[in-house]
């Protein structure tokens, strides 16, 4: 028996892959032209892009007019953006007195220190900063409405994008405590509590938000004693809060269900009562898992705040639609809708990316 060995002293350098599978050409072949079907799809996609992109660019930027005081100053074939400069204040702040606009800005800026200790629990001083987070809704409401030394701004001056943000934020922040209680109620051992919570959640999730808007405008004044006399925006916030708490409840319930049983049992074994077990052991973990879901609920709610136009409030969309009925800016619908879309898109897209990032991070942590 003899075996043949062939040995070399040096490593054989690998030969480069065939040129057609490398570099740009290789990438194109693998990703765009791997089969006739794939190639057809690529051509279709290129055709679609060729139809859309140059037209949109030409209309929106290249052929567009940016300066002027009425639409008649826009002479070119493209979009007319002259109104942006004229009307941006109304789009952002509605009818809020311009000399008081700093209060809106401050309220929005204070949101950052209010959110930081909630999102980053390892932040130094988070324990103390959380008191500010709890107080934030009241601080913001005080800044916006005024009183106690600040000039009072009646809520019917609220409008524009600020109204969307205010209703969305108020709805989500106020609905958190109710949502948590409802979620606990739905998982409660007590049949009556469970039944009532489930009924509330399912009813409020089954009804469209438009109905709540009408109820805020027409029904709530009938339900409450005349001396309550809340203004329309307050009533909208109350009903939006009820609506959102049903959704938050489901998100939190998901978080509660994701905890292993052992956590509940360990808390009981330590002799903690129901509320202390929830406050010290269960909720801190469950809420952390729920943050992405809460952010998603907020995105949905924030987009839905545009529904206030059905009861005649002037949010950013209604300011836009009423502007294009003005003879000076008649017929600029596409421009206005494109502008508002970009506004919402940037904010909602950023938040949805953030929630996705949180979801991934939480997934890794477990």
């Amino acid at each position: 028996m003899s075996t043949f060995h062939r040995t070399t002293a040096e490593m054989v350098t690998p030969r480069p892959p065939p040129p057609l599978s490398r570099g740009v050409i290789g990438w194109l072949r693998a990703n765009l032209f791997s089969s006739w079907f794939n190639a057809a799809m690529t051509l279709l996609a290129v055709y679609l892009l060729w139809l859309l992109v140059p037209g949109i660019l030409r209309w929106g930027l290249l052929d567009a007019d940016f300066a002027g005081t009425t639409r008649f100053d826009c002479q070119s074939a493209g979009a007319c953006w002259a109104w942006v400069d004229q009307r941006i204040y109304q789009f952002l702040y509605g009818f809020y007195p311009p000399e008081q606009a700093w209060r809106v800005n401050l309220a929005l800026t204070l949101l950052i220190p209010a959110l930081l200790p909630v999102l980053f629990d390892r932040m130094p001083g988070a324990r103390w900063a959380r008191w500010f987070s709890l107080a934030y809704p009241f601080v913001a409401a005080f800044l916006l409405v005024g009183g106690y030394g600040l000039a009072e701004v009646p809520t019917d001056r609220f409008g524009g994008f600020m109204l969307n943000v205010a209703v969305g934020l108020a709805g989500i922040l106020l609905s958190l405590p109710f949502g948590i209680l409802l979620a606990l109620g739905r998982r409660s051992q007590l049949p009556l509590v469970r039944l009532l919570s489930t009924a509330f959640i399912e009813t409020f999730r089954g009804i469209p938000l438009v109905t709540f808007m009408f109820a805020a405008a027409l029904l709530l004044p009938i339900f409450l004693p005349p001396r309550f006399n809340l203004d329309l925006i307050m009533r909208v916030i109350i009903l939006v809060t009820m609506y959102a708490s049903a959704y938050i409840a489901e998100v939190v319930r998901g978080g509660l269900q994701s905890l292993p049983r052992g956590q509940y049992e360990a808390a009981q074994a330590l002799g903690l009562g129901y509320w202390r077990a929830m406050r010290l052991v269960i909720l801190p973990q469950a809420l952390k898992v729920s943050i992405p879901g809460i952010v998603n609920t907020f995105i949905a709610l924030f987009k839905d705040t545009t529904l206030v136009i059905v009861i005649g409030l002037f949010d950013i969309l209604n300011i836009g639609t009423s502007m294009i009925a003005n003879p000076n800016w008649l017929g600029l619908g596409t421009e206005v809708y494109a502008f508002i879309s970009i506004f919402f898109f940037v904010i909602c897209f950023a938040m949805s990316r953030y929630s996705l990032h949180l979801e991934r991070r939480l997934d890794v942590g477990r």
Binding site: A45, V210, F223, P225, Y337, F345
Partner: protein
């Protein structure tokens, strides 16, 4: 008093007693709240001189509805008007669900396509649509449709369908004698196709031999009615719209509101469905795909026979909630004046002043719709659930 202390404490430490007491307290609180609301309501209605009760539904409505599926005139009752609105809600929801499902599945699969460019395009569609308010999209499409040229300069699609600022004018099919036969033939073909597929499945389970079920079923369902249709001398006439002096005559008029609402709902919900479909497909373990390739299945067959059946279990629950969302979102119709349940209800409310009654009708109807949809989808979900052996 002194003696009752320990016994109360003892009773309180008994879990069942405590549960009873807590529930009684909750019940008392809810009842008190409801009583307060009812008392307020009664007082407010009295001071405003408003009547209650559903008797007003029989009163004549005195307003017109241009989009109607059943007989309705301004002499009809409020109840009839609400029924017309409900049917319009159902119409746009059903149309929207069909289109959104198709769009959603297409976009969801395209996002996972190996074609880089198509995947990017699908992602752009999904991300943009999901992050812009539906109401804004709806108003945008509606403004585009109502901005189309007037009746005189309608855009013509092959001279059979026309688009103008009053909506779309489509040819209307009208059945002639013998068309019933074609329909009956189609029905029989469907039954036959189901029978064939059941038989083929039984044979496959028993013997392992395959059978070209899909080809035969499609052949039956398409072939039988087509043959009958041709054999009976094409018993279907198309009422093609004719340009008249002021408007078209003949054909079906579809309002721009219906088109805009249907399109906006489909595009918006389609993006959410696409995410569900993508998530469902990704949730199928990679080993399943690899095993299918190892068995020599083609990419298409792997998708159809291995991945999709398993993905469906993960797709159906979010799909259900998207269908429910679409139905609820159809109420945005009120913003563009499509006469759905909420829009008609709003008019009824203004005319009759019966806020309480109208809102409760809305609540009952929407809850009923969502209950029906979830019952159906839960049934479907159970049917397709993985049977673990």
């Amino acid at each position: 008093m002194a003696a009752s202390g320990p016994s109360v404490a003892r009773a309180w430490s008994n879990e069942r007693v405590r549960a009873l007491v807590v529930q009684a307290a909750v019940l008392a609180g809810i009842v008190a709240l409801l009583a307060w609301l009812v008392a307020n309501t009664a007082h407010n209605l009295e001071t405003r001189g408003l009547k209650t009760g559903f008797g007003f539904l029989k009163d004549p409505a005195f307003f017109d509805i241009n989009q109607k599926l059943i007989e309705y005139s301004s002499r009809s009752s409020f109840g009839r008007a609400l029924l017309v609105g409900l049917l319009n809600t159902l119409l746009v929801s059903a149309l929207g669900i069909v289109a959104a499902t198709i769009l959603g599945f297409a976009a969801g699969m395209l996002r996972l396509s190996r074609n880089w460019l198509m995947a990017r395009l699908a992602t752009a569609y999904v991300e943009f649509t999901r992050n812009v308010p539906l109401l804004l999209q709806l108003i945008f499409w509606w403004s585009l449709l109502t901005g189309l040229p007037g009746v005189q300069d309608s855009l013509s699609l092959g001279n059979v369908a026309f688009l103008n600022n009053r909506g779309a004018r489509l040819p209307a099919p009208s059945a002639e004698p013998g068309f019933g036969m074609v329909l009956a033939g189609a029905g029989m073909a469907v039954v036959a196709a189901i029978a064939v597929s059941a038989w083929a499945k039984r044979r496959r389970l028993a013997t392992g031999r395959g059978f070209p079920v899909a080809a035969i079923a499609i052949g039956l369902i398409v072939g039988v009615p087509t043959t009958l249709f041709l054999a009976l001398g094409q018993p279907l006439a198309w009422d093609v719209p004719q340009p008249g002096r002021f408007n078209f005559t003949g054909g079906i008029q579809v309002t721009p509101e219906l088109v805009a609402l249907w399109w906006a709902l489909s595009v918006y919900t389609g993006a959410f469905i696409a995410e569900g479909v993508r998530g469902g497909i990704l949730s199928v373990a990679r080993g399943q795909t690899e095993a299918a390739y190892a068995l020599g299945l083609s990419r298409g067959a792997t998708m159809r026979k291995v991945v999709l059946p398993q993905a469906l279990c993960a797709i159906v629950p979010p799909l259900t909630s998207q269908y429910l969302n679409l139905t609820k979102n159809s109420s945005l119709a009120v913003a563009i004046g499509y006469q759905d349940l909420v829009s008609v209800g709003g008019t009824v409310l203004n005319q009759s002043g019966r806020a309480l009654e109208v809102v409760s009708i809305w609540i009952v109807v929407y809850l009923g719709l969502s209950l029906l949809t979830s019952l159906f989808m839960n049934w479907y979900n159970r049917r397709i659930a993985l049977v673990e052996r």
